[in-house]
Every structure is written in C-alpha cells, then in structure tokens.
C-alpha cells in the first residue's frame, strides 16, 4: 500500500443515499427508527430500546473496527516501539468496543453479547463510520486517520461522560483518557511527518487527502442520533464541530501542511452503507470464531 494514491470517489454506496435524502436531520427522517423486515438478524422484541441499541452499536463499532485496523500493524510497524504504540491503541479500542457492544446486546434483549455482535454480524449490520474502516496504507495514512478520528472521539467521549445512560457515561469517562493519548500521539506524528523530509511530507499530505472526505460523516446527525441526544444518552457532535476544526487546523499549521481541498463527503456508515474495505476486514476478523465456534484460548 505504500505510496498508493487515494482512489477516486465514484462508486461509494454512501453517496447515492446522501444525495437522495440530503443527509443531516431532514434526510434521516426518511429512515424508520424501527427494524424493518428486510434487515438481517433478529429484530428487537417490542419495547426494547432501539435508540439505545443503535447508539451503543455506533460507539462500539467505531472502536472495534479501528482497533482491528491497528492490530493489522502488529509486527509490521516502522520500529518495535511504534509497533507497541499501535497495538496499545488498538487494545484500548477493543476494550471500549467490548463494553459498548456488551451493553448493546443487553439493550437489544435478544441474548446476544459483545462477541456475538462483533463476530456474527454481516457487513450491512455494522454501524461504524467510514473513516475507521479505511485501509492502513502507509504509516502516514494510518496517522492521518488516527488524528482525524481520535480528536473527534476524545471530544465525543468528553460529552458522553455526562450521558444519562450509566454504562455510556462510565465507559466514556474511562476511555476519554485513552483516546486523548491517541489524539496527542497521532498529532505528534502528523507534525513530524508533515514538517519532515520531502518524502514524509508527500506521504502525510496524501494520507490526509485520502481521509478528508470521511470527516463530515463524523458530524452527521440523523434522527436517531438526535433522539439519543435529546434523551441525554447520546451527544450532538455539531456542538463541538468548531472546536474540532480548530484543533485539526492547529495541528496542520504546526505540521506546515495545507488542509486538503474540500471533497464530496462520503456518508452512510451509520445506516450500514460501507465501502469495499470493511468486508475484507470482517473476513479476517470473523474467520476464526465463525469457523471454529467452540474455540477458546
């Protein structure tokens, strides 16, 4: 993947969806808040808390998929120290995912636990944002993804510490310290690679360019997210959009990098629309427990 240029945008399934519904709050109204019959997997029984279930899935899937991505670096990082940094961050994220997905299973009330949700769902049932499923590429591309996601996640968890859902509040309070470190470390690397050699600068700019179109989705607020925010269990990310832009802008300035040109945003991960990369990731992640359901270690 080293040196790969960002792919062109046509063919991302999220785009059509976005165009049709216009994205944001109005568009999301077209999406039913309750499971329809065509959806894979068992529907929640009546009275189960679907908004809480989906909110926890979104949180858990973001952490799970990025944790798996970072795990792919294991044994391949530029140095053994960086190998450990990446694996540590991956394990932080898998830990968050375990808490969120176990809670999601409880909210769903169908007897599924975090493992069942992680290893026995198909790609259309994943609710992670597009950013976290993007391929690692080279180290610069991985750090671009990490900066853009972790900075957002730190702000999100900062708000979720006050969630009315006790589990979300507790996990956010613990995890916000983990992701603050992720955001700091990735910022350090973006600054060094951007303001480094000609080659590192080229790669850092290319990595940011690849990831940039997936940032707007982080601030997309559909009906479900809005309802979660109104109930006080979720957070409205639009509240910290300005802070986010300022933080990212400050890192890019220190890295002497221009912000990438605006690109057509890719949306839809929260509704199960994903790119080609997620299926491959899931195949690697889910192969063992699906092939050997009784395996233990």
């Amino acid at each position: 993947m080293i040196g790969t240029e960002p792919q062109s945008s046509p063919g991302f399934p999220g785009e059509g969806d976005h165009a049709k519904h216009g994205g944001g709050v109005e568009g999301a109204g077209a999406r039913p808040l309750h499971h329809d019959a065509s959806r894979r997997g068992p529907p929640p029984r009546s009275g189960e808390d679907l908004v809480l279930f989906e909110t926890l899935l979104r949180l858990g899937d973001d952490s799970l998929i990025l944790g798996q991505r970072l795990g792919e670096w294991c044994g391949h990082a530029p140095s053994v120290e960086v190998d450990l940094s990446l694996a540590n961050m991956g394990l932080d994220l898998i830990g968050q995912a375990t808490h969120f997905l176990n809670a999601a299973g409880a909210a769903e009330g169908q007897g599924r636990d975090g493992d069942a949700l992680a290893f026995h769902r198909d790609v259309l049932d994943f609710r992670n944002c597009w950013l976290v499923e993007q391929p690692n590429g080279d180290f610069a591309q991985t750090m671009a993804r990490m900066l853009l996601f972790s900075t957002w996640q730190e702000m999100l968890f900062g708000h979720l510490e006050g969630s009315k859902d006790a589990t979300i509040a507790a996990v956010a309070a613990k995890a916000v310290k983990e992701v603050r470190y992720h955001a700091e470390l990735s910022a350090e690397w973006v600054i060094r690679l951007g303001d480094g050699t000609q080659e590192s600068r080229r790669r850092m700019a290319a990595g940011l360019d690849w990831m940039w179109r997936f940032v707007p989705e982080l601030f997309e607020t559909d009906a479900l997210a809005l309802e979660a925010a109104e109930r006080g269990i979720g957070a409205d990310p639009r509240k910290f959009r300005d802070d986010y832009d300022a933080r990212i802008g400050a890192v890019l300035a220190e890295a002497t990098l221009e912000a990438p040109r605006e690109q057509r945003p890719i949306l839809g991960g929260r509704r199960g629309h994903h790119g080609e990369h997620l299926g491959h990731l899931l195949a690697a992640m889910q192969y063992l427990p699906r092939t050997y359901p009784d395996a233990t270690w």
Binding site: S79, E81, V82, L84, S85, N88, L185, E188, R192
Partner: protein
C-alpha cells in the same frame, strides 16, 4: 549517515517518593517521541507514575578496563556499610 533513530535511556518512578530507576531504552527521533515510546513500552502494566528519558549518548560510562582500580578497593571496607546501626521501623525505602 546512520539512519536509525537515536537511543534514549528510560527511567521510571514506580510511585511518589521513590527514585526514578533505569528500566531500559527506546529508539526515537526526538525527546518528545522518546517519552511516548517509553510510556508505550515500559508503563503499560501500571509500572510507574513518572518517566525520564535521557539521550544514551549523554551518558558517560566508566571503562571496564578500569574495573579493578575503580571497584576492587571497596571490597574490604566493610565499615562503610551502615549495618552497625539499628534502623527505625518507620524509615522506609532503605
């Protein structure tokens, strides 16, 4: 030109009141990243509350060839050990 990152010696303070102790080394391009690498390599199991990193090149070491002159003369100076004193129970970390 050596393209490896320089080496840094890592010191960890296990808890407040204790001295920083040498635990190992990391490679890193600069001091800030060396601290991050030290954190990720040596404190992932709650080993410490504070970190120091020092460029390995800044350490001046004694010459092994001088070991006899440096260290052997201390061998028969048993009176330099504080073993002839009773240490009060509430004095810790000795």
């Amino acid at each position: 030109m050596n393209k490896d990152w320089p080496l840094w010696e890592v010191f960890v303070r296990a808890k407040g009141g204790m001295s920083h102790r040498h635990v190992g080394s990391v490679h890193a391009p600069d001091a800030e990243i060396a601290l991050r690498h030290a954190r990720d390599t040596y404190t992932r199991r709650m080993e410490g509350v504070s970190l120091w990193v020092v460029p390995s090149a800044s350490i001046t070491a004694s010459d092994p060839a001088d070991d006899a002159a440096n260290f052997d003369p201390a061998q028969d100076k048993i009176y330099r050990h504080p073993t002839f004193y009773d240490i009060p129970d509430d004095v810790k970390h000795i």
